[in-house]
Subunit: 245 residues, 2 copies
DNA sequence: CGGGAGTTTGATCAGGATCAAGGCGAGTGG
DNA sequence: CCACTCGCCTTGATCCTGATCAAACTCCCG
């Protein structure tokens, strides 16, 4: 399922990017001698790639920001915290998504792996050099960032105006959508993150997330599978419930 | 107060941009013969500028998107609606802010004036041409859009995790911050929008906004003035209440 | 197999929404 | 110029969704 073609399709999807822009991952990255300029993935030759364990911190809000990162596989959560510990998860990143892309001296959110994750770290200086060398790449970054902004605006609608059931349904459909475009079974989605992660992403509590999922299960809209997987039994009914993205 | 210097300072502020990026407005724009390329404001010579009355629509969600817009003076609200009419105001735009900047065929939100507003309309083709001609300008747009994204993430924290009082306090401080950087009296801010606009921006109802403002007034943290103005009497106490941006 | 974190379920609480009246002020027309 | 009116804002009473507090269950994981 995570074929190169699938990843490329994902990166070029028409659907707004999910978090900080998805950029094509070179099929060849890491497998062959690195070409100085790979037209398909200009980033491929920059920085280096590292495997992180599950549930570890990649960088923290307030850290000096010298690099940007690209998730190659696995899942990362980005979040901001209020002084008293309340947490808002800004988004979940998957293959192709970038993070840390900002013109600020410090990172403005914390990045932690959810699962074991491969991440490419690119020094800002190298990214800047690439933008200078390839204006088209700067445009690509702009396009990806704009997509992120649109996704962020959808999330505002969700957080500000949707009910608990609508929030959960929307969340499930988004995951399914991402996965569908990335190829793979439409109906079965992965939920590697915990209930409290989902809660902190949707502006709810774990209990409410759990109850809502239970209700969806009772209504035969979803089926909860072992190993953090979930099957969407009635996509249309979920879409009705979600009330638009 | 809205001197050229003030606007320039505003556009270059370190604080994250508020909605879709703030770009320098040329001091000379519209006042002198238009130079073909104004280094201070590369946009100045593009498209044309029009004055809109208060409470009119500039473009609607779903309209074919052929232009981007820049607010030169006045105030605009951007919002998205759910099918049943619930509304989420994405943000309020002021001088220097841009809207409609997306790589999509349709506008993804509706833009309406709050007050009488001067708006520059720039065809996308012209913007694209400018980006081709001046790579530095594309970088500037990227920087502005990234700032917007950061602001959107702050708004997610507000919507998902803050209480009504924290939301209102944060909102007032943001307005004050914008104004402060743009020059002008730190303590007195303009609230040209109605209570229901504020409510739809903060994920509350008009009643709750009104009650919360009344409480802030009783606690001597603010004073509500005639003509949609408001005075911040205790900036520090408000900041405590807001609990971080 | 046992321990423990995460999840589910239950009971109660409370913040903010909803429903319902007044009050106030800015425009409008007489 | 003043009074009226309409829309917005404020205030009050009640309701309800989702939070909080509490406990049992399940499934990993060692």
């Amino acid at each position: 399922m995570s074929t190169h073609a699938a990843i490329a399709a994902h990166a070029n999807r028409a659907v707004p990017g999910y978090l900080v822009s998805a950029l094509a991952i070179s099929p060849a990255s890491g497998l062959t001698a690195i070409p100085p300029r790979n037209p398909a993935d200009p980033l491929a030759s920059l920085g280096h790639t590292k495997v992180y364990e599950r549930e570890v911190t990649v960088f923290s809000e307030g850290d000096a920001a010298g690099s940007v990162f690209r998730v190659m596989s696995g899942m990362v959560r980005l979040y901001k915290m209020l002084p008293d510990g309340r947490r808002q998860i800004i988004g979940f990143l998957q293959a192709g998504d970038m993070m840390g892309l900002a013109f600020a001296a410090q990172y403005l959110y914390t990045a932690e792996t959810v699962t074991a994750t491969t991440i490419q770290r690119i020094p800002r200086l190298e990214l800047d050099a690439l933008m200078d060398a390839q204006p088209a790449f700067a445009r690509k970054l702009l396009s990806a960032t704009t997509s992120e902004l649109m996704a962020a605006q959808d999330q505002m609608v969700l957080l500000g105006r949707k009910t608990a059931a609508e929030k959960v349904a929307t969340f499930l459909l988004r995951l399914s959508n991402r996965k569908a475009v990335a190829g793979g079974d439409e109906r079965t989605i992965d939920l590697p993150m915990g209930r409290s992660d989902i809660a902190d992403h949707l502006g709810l509590t774990t209990e409410t997330v759990s109850r809502t999922l239970t209700k969806l299960k009772s209504s035969r809209l979803i089926r909860i599978l072992v190993g953090g997987k979930l099957e969407l039994l009635d996509h249309d009914a979920l879409a009705d419930l979600a009330g638009g993205f």
